[in-house]
């Protein structure tokens, strides 16, 4: 199977993720869409690695996973505290630094 098709899939996933970030208000959904974009990138890295015949892309994909894991920890903590203070998980409600 032609590896370019995987690239199309990666582009599609990235677009879905980006659209989700832009149009959804729920912080959890926005967060998941970001994960989707990261994983679309990972997929593209792996495909490039395959196409060029070296391991650089795969190594970078691992790095991305580690960073994404760390980001999840911090991001979820922020979302939880946001929900506790404002009783809402909408990103639009958190438009001001003060309450």
């Amino acid at each position: 199977m032609n590896p370019v098709n995987y690239l199309y899939l990666a582009a599609l996933l990235f677009t879905i993720g980006a659209t989700g970030v832009l149009i959804r208000r729920n912080a959890i959904v926005v967060f998941m869409c970001i994960e989707l974009m990261l994983n679309a990138c990972n997929l593209a890295f792996v495909v490039f690695s395959r196409m060029h015949g070296n391991l650089d892309g795969q190594i970078i994909a691992f790095f991305t996973m580690v960073v994404a894991a760390a980001e999840v920890v911090v991001g979820l903590a922020i979302i939880v505290s946001l929900f506790r203070t404002r009783h809402s998980a909408s990103v639009d409600d958190a438009s001001l630094m003060k309450l």
Partner: protein
Amino acid sequence: MENLIALLIAAPLLGAALLLTGGRRLDSVGHWIGTLLSATSFVFGVILFADLLGKDAEHRTLTQHLYTWVPVESFQADVTFRLDQLSMTFVLLITGVGSLIHLYSVGYMEHDERRRRFFGYLNLFLAAMLLLVLADNYLLLYVGWEGVGLASYLLIGFWQHKPSAATAAKKAFLVNRVGDMGLSIAIMLMFTTFGTFAFGPVLGSVGDASEGKLTAIGLMLLLAACGKSAQVPLQSWLGDAMEGPTPVSALIHAATMVTAGVYLIVRSGAIFNAAPDAQLVVTVVGAVTLLFGAIVGCAKDDIKKALAGSTMSQIGYMILAAGLGPIGYVFAIMHLVTHGFFKAGLFLGAGSVMHGMNDEVDMRKYGGLRTYMPITFVTFGLGYLAIIGFPFLSGFYSKDAIIEAAFAKGGTQGWILGGVALLGAAITAFYMTRVMLMTFFGEKRWQPDENGNEPHPHESPSVMTIPMIVLAVGSVGAGFFFHLGDRFLNWLEPVTGHEEGNSPVGAGAITAATLVLLVVGAGIAYLQYGRKPVPVTAPRGSLLARAARRDLLQDDFNHVVLVRGGEHLTRSLVYVDHTLVDGVVNGTAASFGGLSGRLRRLQNGFARSYAVSMFGGAALLVAATLLMRAV
């Protein structure tokens, strides 16, 4: 012998330094130190004069190179003095009359507690004036020129506790600055034209320069002369300068400093000879001032201001003569010297009268003083006869020569200039007779001053009368002495050059006309002020008389044209500043303020709108990268 020249200047300069820095301990002897050093300078002058007389006419030029002042490549300014017949004449006049007036001031300033300072300023003036006439280049002359301006300022404002004196000093200084600008521009033009400003090279290579440039230099020199010599249009300061002590008026504002303009023009004769247009302007300025001063002199009741108008008028004669070119140079200087004698004498006489009359200056409050002040009366009277040109007295020879030279200019110009000079002689006779009659004849019109003190007119002490007597002798004899065997002409001719003009009228006819006009002028004055009693308060008078009392509206003219004009100019500049300059500055600030106000709206706190801009930016970058790769 050359080395004496610097000592001429050094003596009064030493006096000024001693008296102005010496402090109170010199108070008791300061005036004698000043007088002695001034007399020393006169003695040096006489020694040098005797030396010059011992040489033949072509070799009577001494130069002394003291040091090089500014040595920069082609810009060479030397402190070099030049003593020739022209500067010698001035040296003798300045130090001679100067010493007499120092002596007079010892008596006149006796009760002034700042007398030491006064003598310091007088010595400073002498040093600056000697520097002016002895300089061998225009730059050094400029130093002296500014020096006399400073001394004049200090002395006019000597009684600075009087606001009028302080204002008059400022006015004199400011008006003189306008003239000084002319001199500095002339020197710059000389440097660009000739590459030097020493007298010899500049005046010797006049033929190499274009006439346009020479005319420009000539007009700038004339502007300088107008400022220093109180000629129209820069005449307005001289009348107010009479606020200074009377010896100052006699020395600086009658006999010496105000004649510096005449010296400048005669010294630069070669330039004017090659620039007929500039010469014409010089004669016009002289002729206009001659009438202007004479008319002002007719209407003033203040004795010093009447004499100031007369000074202006007589210097107008000199400038007129200097503008006539080689026909007139010698006569301009001759009139300058005789005028130095009789006008200084007249001013000292006026000072003596004021001294006896509790410093009253209004002639309407004098009257009948001849029996109270016989010496003042006789010396003033001789000066009076000399200035109106009474036969065989000084003014007769020198003024007559100028009138003849004016006619000898030839053509219509000659007739106009000669006519103006003749008319001036008639008006001179009128206003001087008026001064004489109002002061010394008629009944007493004295009044107690505001403190109730009745004036007790008395003759001045001999320290004051002796200088007056000496000057009176000069007023009587100088003209005849100079005229005899054309002595003055032969003396000055090697420096200034001389030509006989061809006058359309004979010399005898001109002399006769002058004498007739003299009698007419004096006669009218006698009918008006001798036969009828003089009213103590001035009558309203005709329109001309009222204008003349206001100095022919010179200050009003200056106010309307210069002050108002200046105000309008500054107002419009302020308007431009507020609208244009501030507009640009404020507009820039406001546009940046507005722009940032709009940009601020982008920062709305909504995370999703930030995300849009990030995606947009990333998309743009990707698009740009692709585009660059495609190209």
